[in-house]
Amino acid sequence: MIRDITIGQYYPADSVIHRLDPRTKLVGTLAFILSLFLFRSYAAYLVATVFLAGVIRASKVPFKFMVRGMKAIVFLLLITVVFNMFLTPGEPLVRIWKLTVTREGLELAIFMAIRLTYLIIGSSVMTLTTTPNQLTDGMEKGLRPLNKLHVPVHEMAMIMSIALRFIPILLEETDKIMKAQMARGADFESGGVIKKAKSMVPLLVPLFISAFRRANDLAMAMEARGYHGGEGRTKMKPLHYQKRDRAAYLTLVVYLLAMYGAKRIAGF
């Protein structure tokens, strides 16, 4: 079903990458993605490839889980490549009917494909090695300075972690209700658009009711346990940078320098 989407699917394993502070991973991922857009050259992408491969290796997550997230964007990737290839003006290479592939277009297409692919794989590495809870914890702590500007950082993080927590629950619920209605002869597949939309009612009504019921219960349970917002709330597992995080930041700096150097020195 919808479970093929890798982003947001934690892969439990015991690795250095898993143990890193979520803030380190967030900053690292962001820096990696930025570097893909800042240093546009084959040599730099070679460095990025080595770096990404190294991180994947260290994460102990099987490679096939990384590429699983790619399935969702294959179509987008294809469109990007095709448009860039044909619609970029420049020195013509091949001519197919009325369309011309230009040298610049081909290059742009290749760069775009690499960027998008690495972007998805890079963020998959983060989400596969970090539980949603750690991720929101990391964001909350990392963005805490914004509190001074009256940005409700804690509330936003709380909303996000609850939403993330509810995704698998609601997916499971959908599966269950769908099966239960199918046992009553419901048909979710055949028919035209209108018939299909109508057939969703027996699924959506119970799903909404259950979502509201769960939200209500959760709010009740939180209040019963004295939740009163972020003010003065302490953490069960407070985030502290460790030695390995310092090492990771150092590696990141080396990586960025290598990217810069590769683009500057190699020059292709």
Partner: protein
């Protein structure tokens, strides 16, 4: 005429980090007209197993036969099977969605493509079968009590007039009265209409009172599959897998160990009482005679 499973295996999310073998080499048969029980600890695979019986879940390997026909055959009428093998899910009240109880019960038979009068006739009949009073028919399902909702949901399946009725823990979360009412009604259905019933439960007391045969599940495998009194003889093994024989079994076993000749196979309190009474009756007679 029966449902038959041959070497059925089922794996959830194969090929992922969350891969889970839920069923291992299940071979079972549910003959026509039998009242069977499936019991097992939480997570032993009961719900997964019963979803195979009407084709909602497709076995990873193995075959399921309904009345001798392989239901995984290319052109097998799956929708037809789902109407003949009625499956009441756990907490079925969560699947109610219509504006009133009566329309909700109509959903099943309507999907069978029956004419309106027939649909309504069946819904009416089904609601009577589960003992829901007419004053509730036009109420919103969400105005009913937990037990009444449960009955309405069961009626939703009965209205399709299935040949086999499977219920997944129909008494979960109900009070003792609601529990007995529902189980008694199911038994009545079984007796009067002769439909096959498969009752899933994790309470031995519930099961012991009603069923003719017990399938005991443990970690995705069938551990025992026999008449209740035979299964209860293994009460020590049942304890090891997180279950227990009905309490009267323990009483009767203890009495037997103390040299009283009572029936250790008595599975209900009434049966046990009768057996003890008759033992004392004989005892008195021997003393007098």
């Amino acid at each position: 005429m029966s449902i038959k499973l041959e070497h059925v295996n089922y794996i959830y999310s194969p090929g992922t980090a969350y891969e889970k073998q839920a069923l291992t080499d299940i071979c079972l048969e549910f003959p026509d007209g039998q009242f069977a029980g499936i019991i097992g600890h939480t997570g032993s695979g009961k719900s997964t197993l019963i979803q195979h019986l009407n084709g909602l879940v497709r076995a990873t390997s193995g075959t399921v036969y309904y009345n001798g026909e392989d239901i995984y055959r290319e052109d097998y009428p799956m929708k037809d099977l789902r109407s003949r093998v009625g499956l009441v899910f756990q907490y079925p009240e969560y699947q109610l969605f219509e504006v009133d109880v009566f329309s909700d019960v109509c959903f099943g038979p309507k999907n069978l493509g029956l004419p309106k009068e027939e649909v309504e006739k069946r819904a009416y009949h089904a609601l009577q079968q589960v003992g829901l009073k007419e004053k509730y028919f036009k109420k919103s399902p969400f105005e009913l009590s937990g037990g009444q909702k449960r009955r309405a949901a069961i009626a939703g399946i009965l209205a399709m007039q299935p040949e086999v009725l499977i219920l997944d823990e129909p008494t979960a979360g109900l009070d003792p009265k609601g529990r007995d009412d529902i189980l008694d009604q199911i038994q009545l259905l079984h007796r009067e209409q002769g439909i096959t019933v498969v009752l899933v439960s994790h309470s031995m007391e519930d099961i012991a009172r009603y069923v003719e045969r017990i399938v005991v599940m443990d970690k995705g495998r069938v551990r025992f599959n026999d008449r209740p009194e035979k299964v209860f003889e293994h009460y020590r093994e049942l304890e090891q897998i997180g279950l227990a024989a009905p309490q009267v079994t323990y009483v009767m076993q203890a009495l037997r160990e103390r040299g009283m000749d009572v029936d250790i196979h008595a599975a209900t309190v009434e049966g046990a009482a009768a057996s003890i009474r008759s033992y004392f009756g004989n005892f008195e007679k021997r003393r007098e005679g």
